[in-house]
């Protein structure tokens, strides 16, 4: 009898925990999201300020390229006497995203969040611009516009690109030092040559391969194990950061939009100020709606989704009307 009572008590305790687990799941689904695989991989190097700086600069470069491309497209559309207000509004918001990125601190503990959030916004703004354009033109016309913009976009952002390349070289130099330490060798002269630009990355890698070929079996296995250990360390760190970025994503999105609205209020000299503020208010309302998964878009600017079937691999959920982003998969979306 006593045993039966004990069993009943244990079942009762376990039963009482079930609603807690369910409640936790519900809370997660309302505000938290998962980071897509591409972004997860990109944040792997953000475990230090140097890697974080590279990713933020790369994102800024990508945004500047798209803003310049957008401006070029608008100037072409102006030649056809078309209404470009929707395109200009998207670019105006793109500018606000760029400013947020430029004011971000790569040494801050929330640098990963900034990267994930602003990449998500940039992907969605690019997609919105693309969908709006595709709804207006046929493929041959789009090809013509693309050809007209090609020459202009080739030589953009040279300084920033060079700066990023320099940073990547510096990052790789540190990585090579680490790799040679794991190998138990000191090749500071070669690393110095790599940093100077007198030796390429592939030459230095070839050097490591040759060195490992000559080593004994045991050393080869040990080196491989150490490299894998290092890689796992990066992945765990990225996983941790990725999970943290996913938590409270929707709340952060709402805060970002509110911040943009406040900054738009100061753009009194911008003829699009009122429309930009309306656009941001609509977005804020969409994120605030209870149970809204933010996939419907619905900015009401009259551009019905074109399906965006041309080479569009974005993993962000978009609905029909210029959707501004599904939080289910922040950051990502290779095109």
């Amino acid at each position: 009898m006593k045993k039966i009572l004990n069993i009943i008590i244990v079942i009762a305790i376990l039963g009482s925990l079930l609603p807690l687990t369910y409640a936790d799941d519900v809370m997660n689904s309302s505000n938290d999201v998962e980071i897509d695989a591409e972004t997860q991989q990109q944040i792997e190097i953000m475990n230090n300020g140097f890697g974080a700086e590279i990713r933020l600069l790369q994102l800024e470069n990508a945004i500047i390229k798209n803003i310049n491309m957008g401006n070029e497209i608008i100037s072409i559309l102006n030649e056809y006497d078309m209404n470009v207000t929707n395109f200009e509004l998207i670019l105006a918001e793109f500018e606000l995203v760029k400013q947020e990125l430029q004011s971000a601190d790569h040494n801050s503990s929330d640098a990963v969040n900034v990267f994930v959030d602003l990449k998500h916004d940039a992907v969605n703004l690019s997609k919105e611009f693309r969908q709006t354009l595709r709804a207006l033109f046929n493929t041959s016309m789009l090809d013509q516009i693309q050809n007209q913009t090609r020459n202009m976009t080739n030589n953009q952002d040279g300084n920033l690109s060079q700066h990023i390349q320099y940073k990547i070289r510096h990052y790789n130099k540190n990585q090579f030092q680490k790799i040679y330490q794991l190998l138990g060798e000191n090749w500071s002269l070669l690393i110095h040559r790599y940093q100077n630009g007198t030796m390429t990355q592939s030459q230095l890698k070839q050097n490591i391969t040759e060195s490992i070929k000559q080593a004994g079996k045991e050393k080869q296995f040990n080196f491989l194990a150490l490299l894998k250990q290092e890689k796992i360390r990066y992945k765990i760190h990225a996983q941790y950061n990725g999970q943290n970025s996913g938590i409270g994503f929707q709340q952060r999105q709402e805060n970002r939009l509110k911040g943009r609205l406040m900054r738009a209020e100061n753009l009194s000299d911008n003829p699009l100020q009122t429309e930009l503020m309306n656009r941001l208010r609509l977005k804020i309302n969409a994120t605030e709606t209870p149970g809204n998964d933010d996939n419907q878009g619905g900015q009401g600017n009259g551009n019905q989704g074109s399906g965006d079937s041309k080479n569009d691999g974005s993993s962000n959920g978009h609905g029909g009307n210029n959707g501004h982003g599904g939080p289910q998969n922040p950051g990502g979306g290779g095109q």
């Binding site: 990547i168 990585q175 890689k231």
Partner: protein, 66 residues
Amino acid sequence: MKKILLVIFGVMILIVSIVLIVHISTNESVMDYQSDEEINIVSEISTEVDTLLLEENDDIDIGEMI
């Protein structure tokens, strides 16, 4: 008697030949295996090194505007 000896001699040569062929082929396959294993480790190391580095033209894809 002579015929029996010739047969025995012939059988012995046959056995030795078979043993030799088996030995050589086994040894070759072991060598092949060792060589493959070595190549695999080196190529795996090369892959792991790649994952720790960034391409100098590496960039972030946020999608096209067209």
